[in-house]
């Protein structure tokens, strides 16, 4: 075991982690621990753009953006946080441009902007051009630009280091972050990083679904690490299903395709979104569009022999426009489906895309131990966190914005905190949990296979807690997850070695997914209403009286070692906007 000491440790090197690192490296001795190489993270898969009311091409302002974000999140958004997001969006985009990001340009040479779902002029009057973009590769450009600037700033990376545990020490009755424990993939060695500040920026947990746009590596490692240490997870029942994933594969096809004029059609060729969202049509918010697609499919108007998908039609758009604005997604259709989007519509279905919930933080990125108390020295930003700027449903282009605004804020806050404090003493035998976990898996002779349990988990999640949910389906999922957690105790790995043991890491990742799937299902079961991405067929209406509040899920361990989930609730911060019925 090796012990390292840094002022600030950042877990994850995607957009939020690297944006934080650029700030914290200037201010404090910083290490970035990442389970992948920095440019491999899933920020790079984001396509359509980053929202900011620059008003480069038409009238716009941050207040409209705030409203759209609050409405898009079905009023579960903390409105103070949404206002910060929308205001600081403008400087965030300009920061990236100054760092070198190659945005598409208007004829005047300013940053070009395009339409995106849920973003509107003057509180819902009509779609507005607010998304700043670089073709359909905006996430790629953000990731590359941030990495380039990390190279410039000399950010210190520990590549292929998996953080498996959060260290917490109680000082005078206050739980403080003491550091993290990481596993080095190349050698199998354990590393303890003692740090004054720790920032989690480790991304989402979509891999518990089968049809998902998420990378294989999005397994909620950060959420699981803090949850196991008794810290809460917020709003985990809210998961976004992006309307346009490639049929059966789940690969994302950007909403920018509809922003450029693409149309969703059922088997009769009907533009069905006109029925569900007369004003915004195909550009209604994602939860609305995904439910509409499944309604079409359920009512027998789906396409294909099994009627299990609909079409994204781009055939009426000029090929030059597709080449210039949507080059990557049209190539995906050619590569993976053998379809020519100039002439043929693309089969799509909703795909599990984004976790609105996560580790609760305040607007400085400080992690909360309960509804109000912060954990000194612990921060989170990006998809791993829940500020909450996305509420019950995130607007497209607000995630690339989130990672930049709150990545920067967390990086500054964490580094500044590190200057004001001493190192917190490490707990006794800080590596013991991780060593035990690894040795148990490596030496297990159990008969269960990781891939089999993961497949069953993904199937039950797709079948029971996707776009439509009922008490019965969620209970089915809860029972299945409990069974799988029991069987997980009996898994073994074939690779017993120390060198690049990805077999072992997949087993650990599965454990994280099982923990988080259980939190999600239990949170969803208790929320007896429909709001944003959480739709209960048995409770189809929003219930502001009983449920306009955030879910806070805690892991409880009984005296006999038994585990359970305790749910609590946190009020929503409301400033300017009273809840209204949500129409698009």
């Amino acid at each position: 075991m090796k012990i390292h000491k840094y002022d600030t440790v950042i877990v994850g090197a995607g957009g939020a982690g690297m944006r934080a690192a650029i700030e914290s490296t200037k201010r404090s001795r910083t290490a970035v621990l990442t389970k992948l190489y920095p440019t491999r993270s899933h920020t790079g898969a984001a396509q359509g753009g980053m929202a900011a009311a620059l008003a480069n091409v038409e009238e716009d302002n941050w207040e409209w953006h705030t409203f759209d974000t609050v409405k898009g999140g079905d009023y579960l958004v903390d409105q103070d946080a949404a206002e910060i997001l929308a205001k600081e969006a403008i400087d965030s985009v300009l920061d990236l441009e100054k760092m070198g990001l190659p945005f598409n340009r208007t004829p005047d040479g300013t940053i070009d902007q395009r339409r995106f779902g849920g973003h509107s002029r003057n509180h819902g009057e009509a779609p507005v051009r607010r998304s700043c973009y670089a073709a359909d590769r905006t996430g790629h450009m953000i990731l590359q630009t941030l990495y380039q600037n990390c190279v410039k700033e000399g950010v210190e990376f520990f590549n292929e280091f998996y953080v498996l545990d959060q260290l917490i020490t109680e000082v005078d009755g206050v739980k403080k972050s003491a550091g993290v424990v990481a596993y080095e993939l190349a050698t199998g060695e354990i590393h303890v990083f003692q740090a004054k500040s720790v920032i989690y920026a480790s991304g989402g947990n979509g891999k518990f679904f089968k049809v998902t746009s998420n990378a294989h590596t999005l397994t909620g490692d950060g959420q699981a690490a803090v949850y196991r240490r008794g810290l809460p997870l917020e709003d985990m029942e809210f998961f976004q299903f992006h309307p346009t994933g490639i049929w059966r594969m789940g690969i994302l096809l950007t909403e920018g395709a509809r922003g450029e004029g693409g149309i969703l059609r059922n088997k009769d060729g009907e533009r069905f979104m006109e029925k569900y969202a007369p004003v915004m049509k195909d550009l209604a918010s994602r939860d609305v569009v995904s439910r509409s697609i499944y309604t079409e499919i359920r009512e027998g108007r789906g396409c294909g022999p099994e009627g299990d998908h609909v079409y994204l039609d781009l055939t009426h758009l000029p090929p030059e426009q597709l080449d210039a604005k949507l080059p990557d997604i049209t190539e995906f259709a050619r590569t993976y489906l053998g379809i020519e989007p100039y002439t043929d519509p693309i089969p799509i279905q909703p795909t599990a895309h984004y976790a609105m919930g996560g580790i609760p933080t305040n607007v400085q990125g400080e992690v909360l131990a309960d509804n109000t108390t912060v954990v000194p020295g612990l921060y989170a930003a990006g998809e791993v966190a829940c500020v909450s700027v996305h509420g019950a449903n995130r607007l497209g282009t607000n995630s690339l914005l989130d990672i930049n605004v709150f990545g920067k804020r967390a990086g500054i806050a964490a580094a500044e905190y590190a200057h004001t404090t001493d190192f917190v003493e490490l707990p006794e035998d800080p590596e013991s949990f991780v060593v035990g976990q690894i040795e148990r898996l490596r030496s297990s002779t159990g008969t269960e296979r990781v891939s089999e349990i993961r497949r069953e988990l993904q199937e039950t999640m797709d079948a029971n807690v996707m776009v439509f949910r009922t008490e019965q389906t969620i209970k089915t999922a809860v029972e299945k997850i409990a069974e799988l957690r029991e069987r997980y105790l009996n898994v073994s790995v074939q690779d017993k070695g120390k060198r690049f043991n990805t077999d072992l890491l997949e087993a650990i990742e599965l454990g994280n997914l099982l923990d988080l799937a259980e939190v999600m299902a239990v949170s969803a079961l208790a929320r007896k209403e429909s709001r944003g991405g959480h739709y209960r067929e048995d409770y189809p209406n929003r219930d502001d009286v009983n449920f306009m509040r955030h879910t806070m899920a805690y892991r409880e361990v009984g005296d006999d070692g038994s585990e359970s989930i305790r749910l609590d609730y946190k009020p929503v911060v409301q400033t300017r906007y009273q809840p209204m019925e949500r129409k698009y």
């Binding site: 992948l36 070198g100 190659p102 590769r137 190279v151 060198r499 690049f500």
Partner: protein, 259 residues
């Protein structure tokens, strides 16, 4: 050599029946294995699997790892050609495993899969990427401006100026190009095509003011002049970047000092 064969009854999970009408086929994957914890020698190992030929090579590798041999080791993440983790040599050609469909590989014959060349193999399909990223860092891959007074708003750039370097912004640092380059294989000192592509991305960006510095780096004896214009890099690039053309533009800029 032993060939683990998967029983059809075991073939659960992917692939999906009904994805198109294509039936499963039996394909043999001949994979270059190396694990110094086990043996100092690398060996070829065959795996036979039942799979839908419309699936990706990455799906086949997962199937082997998840159902036949958990010790098979490779890098991957996004699975659709964006993250750059899974460049490997497939039937003798550098490709991303997640962007290569089995049906396009003549699956009647064994499909060979091995690590990319020119970088030290650490285990199975995993290589040491550090020399590759060092060359990248050496070309100063970030925007450099000399202005002391930053503009309040964005810098202006015409659509034409933006288009000038568009092709080289697509790089995902997968190393497929660099590890396909015979000069790089023979001489580990050469920067390699990926580093030059990333220098090009800034040299031809109208906002950048350090083109001369970057050209001097590439004018080094291990720089751009080592390129023998074999076009392997252009063939290998999974993003369709015209790598050889970008290198030629850098060479021309070195001669004319105009860019």
């Amino acid at each position: 050599m032993a060939t683990p064969v998967m029983d059809k009854a075991d073939a659960t999970g992917s692939p999906e029946p009904g994805f198109g009408d294509s039936p499963y086929i039996t394909a043999t994957f001949r994979i270059r294995r190396f694990n110094p914890e086990v043996s100092a020698e690398a060996t070829w190992e065959d795996f036979q699997i039942e799979i839908d030929p419309k699936e990706r090579v990455l799906d086949a590798l997962h199937k082997i790892k998840w159902e036949l041999d958990g010790t098979l080791t490779f890098r991957r993440s996004c699975a659709h050609g964006i993250c750059g983790s899974d460049a490997m040599r497939i039937n003798g050609k550098n490709r991303l495993a997640c962007k290569t469909l089995i049906k396009d590989l003549n699956p009647e014959k064994p499909i060979t899969v091995e690590a990319i060349k020119g970088l030290t193999v650490l285990k199975d399909l995993i290589v040491d990427m550090e020399p590759f990223f060092q060359a990248y860092r050496d070309v100063m891959p970030f925007l450099i401006t000399k202005e002391t007074n930053e503009p309040t708003r964005e810098r202006l750039q015409s659509a034409e100026d933006r288009e000038r370097f568009d092709d080289t912004t697509k790089c995902i640092l997968c190393a497929a190009c660099t590890s396909s380059c015979p000069v790089f294989w023979n001489d580990g000192q050469y920067f390699g095509p990926a580093a030059i592509v990333n220098a090009h991305r800034f040299i031809f960006d109208s906002r950048d003011e350090a083109g001369e510095q970057r050209l001097e780096v590439l004018n080094d004896r291990d720089g751009v002049w080592r390129c023998r214009t074999t076009f392997n890099c252009t063939d290998a690039c999974p993003r369709g970047i015209e790598v050889t053309k970008a290198i030629a533009e850098v060479k021309r800029a070195l001669i004319t000092r105009r860019f």
